[in-house]
């Protein structure tokens, strides 16, 4: 089996359904197609280079941003507008089809994740896989997340950086 699509933590495999392996091009197509996408940024993005990558991707695609844990602080210091929720709080809202979303315009149809702690993100993606059929999930981390609908593969830092750079282009 291609090691790029074995979940980074291999025991995360939960069942027959696995995420679709995506390239930046496919990921961008998903974002273009989405009506109400949301970017959820986790605490690993408090450090560079992921901090700048995340900000630039959000700006490029005009994505509403939720920061989880205490990630809000550094984004606030960089004058990036984000809404702060605990990971489990935002997941709890996302699984409710009646929730109006962070902009009050309706529930999101695509949720893009980056910078979450792998094992917790995996659990959260499992929540949405099971209980949020109304939305799709996409992960831009450098690890394959089998519980997402679509995920980047396992990569080294150099390749990942190239993937993220491509996410900033049309």
């Amino acid at each position: 089996m291609n090691e790029r699509v074995i979940p980074w933590q291999p025991t995360v495999i939960a069942g027959p359904k696995q995420a679709l392996l995506v390239t930046p091009e496919t990921a961008k197509m998903m974002m273009k197609k989405a009506k109400r996408p949301l970017l959820v940024i986790g605490p690993l993005a408090k450090e560079e280079p992921l901090l700048t990558h995340s900000i630039e991707i959000a700006e490029k695609w005009d994505l509403p941003v939720v920061t989880t844990a205490d990630t809000f602080k550094i984004f606030s210091e960089r004058n990036v507008e984000t809404k702060s929720y605990g990971t489990v709080e935002i997941l709890n809202l996302l699984k409710d089809p009646e929730w109006k979303g962070v902009r009050g315009e309706g529930q999101h149809d695509l949720v893009i994740f980056i910078g979450g702690i792998y094992y917790m993100a995996s659990q959260g993606l499992s929540t949405l896989k099971h209980f949020a059929p109304h939305l799709k999930t996409l992960t831009l981390c450098k690890y394959f997340h089998s519980n997402a609908d679509a995920s980047f593969p396992n990569m080294n830092d150099e390749e990942w950086s190239k993937y993220l750079e491509k996410m900033k282009l049309n």
Partner: protein, 781 residues
């Protein structure tokens, strides 16, 4: 060991107008606690599985279960495996219900572990002391068993009385476990109600176990000045024969200490422990030492320091025998929970067992008699120690570097690390002669040494052994202390702080409990405790959590236990004891309801839990919870109305209880004083919450101490800490602050202008302060 005469603590005599009459204990305001003759039994004596279901449904309505399936499948019966992703299984179960079923199973396992432990203790101690041995916790504790009184409706007077509680909970546990069978319960909330019941039985079992060992083994009886005991790998004298006890049951360790005392050998051997057995042995005899929490286990066994390893029950590595064989240590198993395939030598002559162990005729021995364990362990350690000291058990530093050079940088050690730690980087650096990264993993148990990296390594690099060796280069700095577990909180302490806690003047009681499956080591947990201690919270702790707090020193070299008193008071750091001592945490909340608010306990669970949920600002923190016991502990205290914050690994438990602040109706409360329902507030906002970082956990913990009953003065204090901490970790005032301001007087003066601005932005209007907030007698009840 003969019981000591009662010690009359100074606090007792300071209590004003305290009168004693035969039969009742009368306080200034009225009857606090009664003998059976005058007890008015509440509606739920010995509640069955469904008797508290209506209370559970109130909690679950406000805090609906949030599920994160660990697995899409069910593989419990031969219809399966069934894939439950957006489908039902062959039995008809859906994913949500299956998660709840798994949670119930976990809570049953955890509860059974504690209660089985309690049953062992009670039977053993009755055998030793007799059924009529009095349950006497001293003059300062009259409400000896608040959980048992509430659930069983009786005050236990002698050891034999505890059996009634065990009989009751064992029956309940059979029914709960049976509900996990295929084709039983089919509703997730009803599964959760049963899980809450399993958690409650866990609380009861722990209370029985700890009370039995406190009274019969003369452990500290709520003593705030219990002595400091030694903690840390560096405190173990390696020149002496060493006996290591791992697990939770004090009996074998007590047997060893008794034998040493009888033979006048106390100065000749080291007796130390890992996990809660260590805590309880040091409560029994302060000469024993604590190696550390569960995360030390594999590293310390590998170090070869222990000549004899005595295992009892719970949280012991199941490969302990194989690991011990590698360095010629003898293993003695001591309970029916863990026999390890060893021959039963319980009825064998002690010297013959010693001979068989020393001559390697047997791999180890199962000895179900704690006194015999004491004799055998001591004799084996004394006779093998000299020879074993010549065995090199860890690689030397040159070998460590050579072993590291075998690494091919395949990354699989990183990938299988449950905590996603940079194991490979540490190995690669070591190969280059730089051990600092390995030291970082060793220090504060950032790596809790599960050993999965080694299992996966294609080059068989013994990463944990290398780390253990590197850790040995700095033993001098691995010397700490911890206050010996004091057991329950005294009634006089509850009288002193009951009002400040309920009114909010003491901003909260925070319990640091659970295991050491920390995302980034123990130091950040200790610093979190320090943060709350400095802010006048009461900090209580137990088990591995208590050890973690002891393993941190400030710049002056003092541990938290040296810096803060052991009193249950503002700025007090209260080590209650081991896992089973966790019972005293809901126990003290119950005592507040009983002693301060005069709520009768007997058969009155719902009223007590309702009081705690709405008025006692307590919050648990289990930052490294890993076990089924931890699941049961948290679920049990949740049922009493105490919220818990857990770490990111706990998302693998599959279920949290989360409130929704945007669902305003879910926060309505009944003001019992006025008999009217009014708009409430999200206090506490969640019942079981998983945080991703320690900063998030710290802020959430402060928030979860807010209660509807707070006076404006108390609310000001609580909001002041919430805002302070939010500013520290998030850089701003919390944008939900308006939800917790009922009237302008609630606003902390320091932040008045900023808070007023947030109130205006959110069209805030003042609302009524409830006088007796409650979820009881609501419409639709």
């Amino acid at each position: 060991m003969a019981p000591k005469p009662k010690e009359l603590k100074a606090d007792f005599w300071k209590t004003k107008d305290f009168k004693i009459s035969i039969g009742d204990i009368v306080s200034e305001e009225g009857i606090e606690s009664t003998d059976e003759s005058s007890v008015v039994m509440g509606p739920t004596q010995k509640p069955n599985v469904t008797d508290l279901r209506s209370w559970d449904m109130k909690l679950l309505e406000r805090y609906p279960p949030f599920y994160s399936p660990f697995c899409d499948m069910c593989c419990l019966c031969t219809y399966g495996k069934c894939d439950l992703l957006n489908k039902r299984g062959a039995c008809g179960i859906d994913a949500e219900t299956q998660q709840a079923r798994t949670i119930l199973l976990a809570c049953c396992i955890g509860s059974a572990a504690h209660s089985g432990h309690a049953r062992h203790l009670v039977e053993y101690l009755i055998d030793k002391k007799g059924e009529d041995f009095p349950i006497d916790l001293g003059m300062d504790i009259d409400i000896e068993a608040p959980i048992m009184r509430t659930l069983i409706g009786k005050k236990p007077k002698v050891l034999g009385d505890l059996k009634e509680a065990l009989d009751y909970l064992e029956e309940q546990m059979v029914h709960l476990l049976s509900a996990c069978h295929t084709g039983q319960e089919g509703n997730s909330k009803d599964f959760e109600s049963k899980a809450l019941h399993a958690g409650l039985m866990d609380n009861l079992g722990k209370e029985v176990g700890d009370i039995a060992q406190i009274v019969a083994l003369d452990l500290p009886k709520g003593d705030p000045e219990a002595p400091l005991v030694e903690l840390g790998v560096g405190t173990i004298d390696r020149e002496k024969p060493v006996i290591l006890c791992i697990g939770h049951n004090v009996a074998p360790g007590a047997g060893i200490m008794d034998y040493l005392e009888d033979q006048d050998l106390e100065d000749d051997l080291e007796v130390c422990g890992i996990c809660c057995a260590a805590i309880d042995i040091t409560r029994y005899n302060h000469n024993a030492k604590i190696v550390g929490p569960i995360s030390k286990q594999l590293k310390f066994i590998r170090s070869g320091v222990a000549d004899v390893i005595v295992v009892d029950e719970q949280c012991i590595r199941t490969d302990v025998l194989e690991e011990a064989k590698k360095n010629n240590a003898a293993v003695i198993a001591t309970t029916d929970k863990m026999c390890l395939g060893l021959p039963d030598k319980t009825n064998e002559d002690a010297d013959k067992i010693v001979s068989e162990l020393i001559n390697k005729q047997i791999d180890g021995a199962l000895i179900l008699d704690p006194d015999k364990v004491g004799e055998v362990a001591t004799k084996v350690a004394m006779r093998t120690s000299g020879e074993r000291s010549k065995v090199q058990v860890l690689p030397d530093m040159d070998e460590v570097v050579e072993l590291a050079k075998k690494c091919t940088e395949c990354e699989w050690c990183d990938r299988v690390c449950p905590n996603s730690l940079p194991m490979m980087d540490a190995v690669v650096s070591t190969a280059e002669g730089d051990i600092s990264k390995m030291e970082e993993l060793y220090n504060n148990d950032v790596c809790y040494s599960c050993g999965r990296c080694e299992q996966e390594c294609p080059r068989d690099i013994p990463i944990i052994s290398m780390m253990a060796k590197i850790g040995e280069t700095d033993l001098e700095n691995q010397k700490y202390n911890v206050r010996a577990g004091r057991g329950p909180v005294q009634d006089v302490e509850v009288r002193r702080v009951g009002a400040p806690i309920v009114l909010g003047d003491i901003p909260g009681v925070i319990a640091f409990v659970g295991c050491t499956n920390y995302p980034d080591g123990g130091e950040e947990v200790a610093k979190m405790a320090e943060e709350f201690l400095e802010r006048n919270y009461i900090v209580v702790t137990t088990g591995c959590g208590a050890m973690t707090l002891g393993e941190y020193r400030d710049e002056e070299g003092n541990t938290l236990y040296e810096r803060y008193s052991g009193s249950f008071d503002a700025k007090g750091l209260v080590n209650m004891g081991s896992c089973v001592s966790n019972a005293h945490i809901p126990g003290v909340a119950i005592k507040i309801a009983n002693i301060f608010a005069k709520k009768p306990l007997e058969g009155n669970f719902e009223e007590i839990a309702d009081y705690i949920l709405n008025r006692v600002g307590a919050c648990g923190v289990a930052w490294g919870a890993y076990s089924q016991k931890a699941a049961a502990i948290a679920t049990g205290v949740n049922r009493w109305g105490i919220p818990v914050v857990v770490g990111p690994q706990a998302s693998k438990y599959r279920r949290l209880f989360l409130g929704r602040t945007d669902k305003e109706d879910s926060w309505r409360i009944n003001d019992l004083r006025k008999h009217t329902e009014i708009a409430g507030e999200p206090a506490p906002e969640h019942l079981l919450y998983a945080a991703e970082t320690i900063g998030e956990a710290t802020v959430m913990t402060a928030k979860l101490c807010i209660r509807p009953n707070d006076t404006s003065k108390g609310r000001q204090l609580k909001l002041n800490h919430y805002i302070d901490l939010h500013k520290k970790y998030f850089g701003t005032l919390p944008n939900d602050i308006y939800k917790f301001v009922r009237v302008e007087k609630d606003i902390p003066i320091t932040y008045k202008r900023d808070v007023m601005q947030i109130l205006e932005e959110n069209n805030w209007e003042p609302r009524e302060l409830p006088q007796e907030p409650s979820l009881m007698d609501m419409k639709g009840d």
